[in-house]
Symmetry: C2
């Protein structure tokens, strides 16, 4: 039991930790103690956690250690974005209006995690309501002077900094892909609607999606299995058989040199590996999707926050007040136009995506910016409006050694197939990059 050092334990992916626990090489209570020591040591600076009660975590570990571990996540610690209801911890949405808020029940995603044997470790930092208002406090594990992104800042940083192997987030516009790119972790945003969003703070009913962060594609797939994301995917051919499209996206003009270089480097690598790698230019309508996102998210946010505006206006952050006020002035015509553009583009995109095994795009404009502002979701909004499944592949670094992620995407409902393709591509890229000396966080 004692042959694993703290650091060796912390470096395990969930899939690896599960095997170690099942084989008796890793004790669940030992695991959580290593986790808590890591957090105690690192989180004063990183600030990934909004709530963590070590005594509660140890108690849960003792409970799990006392039962036979049938669940697929038995004893695995998981961080939860603090916009998701948990019965045994506060859920505060990073909002002064919800200080100490205690939901009566777990959100269905949390209930399913616990049912699978996961140890719900604590709540992670978020942009207020995963929408606007107060920024998350979390810093970037690669450079504490930089942001870890938003809104799922704490979940991305906690996984990157080896606090936990898995964390749950959400994405409405770019709240998962962007922090995953900035923090250098794997992440998965499924097709809209694939996982219940009940008990998750509502912002935009059209786009809100439960997502997750991990340190391998296998771990992303493990959670897809726990949440029964479907339909089941067909098998994936070898990397050599894949057809890959590289899409600069209509926002390419805002993409900075380091991300451009990562995009080009990935394309060149995959040209050597895959049977077909082409550059994909989307039809002109797609350039209007970011504007459509703004209209819909602002309107739906106005609906979602109206009760707080009506009842607690003076306490509400200016950003959210403005969202409610501007939503009230929108015309039916502009709303219909925005909703219908996104619906039309979804159909067009899925038809285009059917010709490829995967589409690759920049995961953010560049490396994580300096300062507390969580950066721009401009590179992510289009994929959110398309409701497409997205994976962050964190295999690239800027000249300064900071993480850069590329988004892998495909048609709606092709989630499991996309995960299989990502696993194959990731392995092929790993083989190619082996020994190239990527930057990493200090441990």
């Amino acid at each position: 039991m004692d042959d694993l050092s703290d650091l060796a334990i912390l470096r395990l992916t969930a899939t690896e930790a599960r095997t170690a626990i099942r084989e008796g090489r890793l004790d669940i209570q030992r695991y959580v103690r290593a986790t808590l020591r890591r957090i105690a040591e690192r989180d004063r600076d990183l600030m990934a956690w909004a709530f963590l009660d070590p005594d509660l975590a140890l108690r849960r570990a003792a409970e799990l250690a006392a039962v036979p571990g049938a669940g697929p996540l038995h004893g695995i610690p998981v961080g939860i974005k603090d916009v998701i209801d948990t019965f045994d911890m506060p859920t505060c949405h990073n909002s002064p209006l919800f200080t100490g808020n205690r939901p009566a029940a777990d959100a269905p995603v949390i209930a399913m995690l616990r049912g699978a044997g996961a140890l719900i470790l604590g709540k992670t930092e978020t942009t207020e309501f995963a929408a606007a208002g107060h920024n998350p406090r979390t810093r970037n594990p690669y450079d504490l002077e930089r942001t870890s992104g938003g809104s799922s800042a704490g979940s991305a940083a906690a996984v990157a900094d080896l606090h936990v192997p898995l964390a749950i987030g959400t994405q409405t516009g770019g709240s998962t892909m962007r922090p995953a790119s900035f923090c250098g972790v794997y992440a998965f945003k499924p097709t809209w609607g694939a996982v219940s969003r009940e008990g998750v703070r509502l912002f935009s009913a059209s786009f809100d999606t439960v997502s997750w962060f991990a340190r391998s594609v296998a771990d992303l797939d493990l959670l897809a299995e726990v949440f029964a994301v479907g339909p089941a995917g067909s098998g994936c051919p070898s990397a050599a058989g894949l057809r890959v499209a590289f899409c600069r996206s209509p926002q390419w003009a805002s993409v900075e040199p380091p991300m451009r270089a990562a995009f080009t480097q990935a394309r060149d690598s995959l040209r050597d590996i895959c049977s077909a790698v082409i550059e994909l230019e989307l039809p002109p309508d797609f350039a209007r999707l970011n504007d459509a996102y703004e209209v819909i998210a602002k309107y739906e946010g106005g609906v979602a926050f109206r009760n707080l505006y009506v009842l607690r206006k003076e306490e509400l952050h200016d950003d959210l007040r403005e969202m409610v006020e501007s939503s009230a002035g929108m015309s039916g015509e502009s709303l219909r136009e925005a909703y219908d553009l996104t619906a039309r583009c979804r159909q067009v995109f899925d038809a285009i995506a059917a010709d490829f095994d995967v589409i690759v795009a920049p995961g953010a404009a560049g490396e994580a910016p300096r300062g507390p502002h969580p950066g721009s979701p401009a590179l992510n909004l289009m994929w959110s409006t398309l409701r497409a499944p997205c994976i962050n592949l964190p295999r690239w670094r800027s000249p300064a050694g900071l993480p850069l992620g590329l988004t892998l995407t495909s048609a709606r409902f092709a989630d499991r197939r996309l995960l299989a393709v990502a696993a194959v591509l990731d392995r092929a890229l790993e083989d190619r990059q082996a020994g190239s000396g990527q930057g990493s966080i200090s441990t």
Copy 2:
């Protein structure tokens, strides 16, 4: 204060009661005592209420009576469908899995009602989770041998039977328009997304909509104002200036003679009143919308109930087990096809609807059926997939004296304009029907 009899009080619409309260002619505590007496007398047979604590209601009435009544619903008792979270009452979803369930907080719609001064009186009967499984127990106030519909059974019946002037419901497929038609009350299902559905039991993320029941169009509009349903409508011309389309809908073959007669009678009446009344036939694609509804609702229901299936399978109703199991077998292709058909038809319908002030359609296949089964939503599903705002106008009766409602609808986001048009049409029809001796419930 004492010049109003119980029955005179109970017959007041919310708008009328508000005026009476403001003018000092109606005391809030007197109002709730009359309400409680009515319910004590009638609900043993009707079974509209899932939870009602008279002491709590009287306490709330005393609290409201003690403060100056600035809110637009000050002192008005409102019934709440028991799938909506209330902090001071259980929320049980008519499910044995949620017996005694106590949410920690009000859903935003409830918070806004309380903020407007409403007296949240109790929780009303519903189909399990407003989805499937256990039927509501509620009987029809016009004939106790018949259903009051579903899933918002208790809300429709409580308003019809003069327990409360207002009640909140939900609609996913036909859960508002059908019980409103069966019970002979006014009801409004706004455009999808117009009101926050946070804290309302999730069934289908694409269709779930908060709705309300009342005894006048003015009262429907009063709640639209409280919930800030937008965008604001332009004024409505006189009835003589209206262009009205009558749409038999692709389900006309299943419409029974009494509803056919109501439809024809309404058309003939409006031909005399309005400038243009035409018959509208929708394009052939619209005949496939009911099937698309079934695919989407079953898939999204499978997602929504998966946690219960995983964790409490043995206790879950067969209907819900089957929903989860069948959703798992759906292909990405069938899902994309269903989602995209609904999206395309929305655009086509809104363009068609732009040529008319209102579109009129059957609100149900016919009068409320006998027995406990809540009837079919087949006539309502299409309008739900179109996300169109819908009003039930309860001005017709079958030869047996049972209520028949017609649905008034229009393009997405034209909610406030539709309410204005409905008010004008309703008044014109009232003038025409005056003295024609409509059936009514016994009092």
